[in-house]
Amino acid sequence: MTVFRLGVKPSRRARPTTLTRTSFAQQAGFVRNRSRNIGSFGTKRCVIAAKFGKAGLTRSRTDGYWLDASRETRSAMTATTFTPWASLLGGGLIGLSAAVLIVFNGRIAGISDIVGRLLPPWSRDGGLAGRALFVAGLVAAPLLFEAGGYAIEQTVSPKLGLLALAGVLVGFGTIIGNGCTSGHGVCGLARLSSRSLVATLVFMATAVVTVFVTRHLA
């Protein structure tokens, strides 16, 4: 356990906490009827940690509630567990997706491209239905996992203004730069494209600087 937490300073590690279920979802009035596995390991799976300073919304997909972690403000960030094997395996599946798409359909698995071209004006290359189905599969995958009882943990910032700004920057930047982490990062590097290598280094660099500024300087 500790081995996988190398690099995580104990002082920064938010302690797992069991919360009462006064969740964001309930406050917002849209509690969904997904409370399947509560009881066996319902709230125990909910590792709550504060994030983004004031508050963080974390949920365990086991019980499907978003949990308000705003009381857990001792740390400005959420420590996560280093998962080398799961990440390598998951990465392999992402690579397999890209491989299948190019070998069978002759297309690059770039998410910003696929999503961006769902917007009008549509190019008449006959790929529109395919792209829509790709996105459908992408969105369906987490639902299938949770249907199988797999707990997906997510901590999404409750700062909606910040996320709106970030979304515009990501959307704008990926279209201007012809790609994102999948198109440049995965497919581009796999093709040994120097253009993609430059793009990947640039977005990694500005992201690292942004995180440093927001977490350690601000």
Partner: protein
């Protein structure tokens, strides 16, 4: 048949994101935070993905045409221009602010976090804005060949 492959590829991609933990923006932000709670997982995701994808691209490169389609749609550009510096720089700032890049954000939509929904709506708005700007001045950019600036902007993902 190609449609089935698209759906399967989407499922594979989404499953990879789930298993790798990349749906969690906290994990992504921790990868980017060398000075704090660093979590190297993302490097393993990228490494695993690049290795497997590289095998796929090698197989594809040896073929005259894809198994199910008429032709390969290879990215048409390999030069380094201002766009491939400015675009990723802007993207990286948004990525660092949120921990979301397009794949995980879209894949997380059905998990219904309010922040994810706001992010994806803004993502689409940002994409639409960029496409509108690129479309307005194709002359400066569409010097070569068959495609417009917009088409080439879509060469990759």
């Amino acid at each position: 048949m190609t449609l089935l492959v698209y759906a399967l590829a989407g499922l594979l991609f989404g499953s990879g994101l789930v298993i790798s933990g990349m749906l969690d923006p906290a994990k992504v932000l921790n990868f980017l935070d060398f000075a704090g709670s660093w979590d190297p997982s993302l490097a393993f995701v990228l490494g695993g993905a690049v290795i497997v994808a590289a095998i796929g691209f090698r197989i594809a490169a040896r073929r005259a045409r894809p198994v199910l389609a008429r032709q390969f749609h290879w990215p048409s550009r390999s030069d380094i221009d201002a766009r491939v510096l400015i675009g990723p720089a802007i993207f990286g700032i948004g990525w660092g602010l949120s921990g979301f890049c397009p794949g995980p954000a879209v894949a997380s939509l059905a998990l219904l976090a309010p922040g994810t929904i706001v992010f994806v709506v803004a993502l689409i708005a940002g994409m639409a804005l960029a496409r509108w700007i690129l479309d307005r001045k194709p002359a400066s950019d569409a010097a070569q060949g068959e495609d417009t600036a917009l088409a080439r902007s879509n060469a990759l993902g």
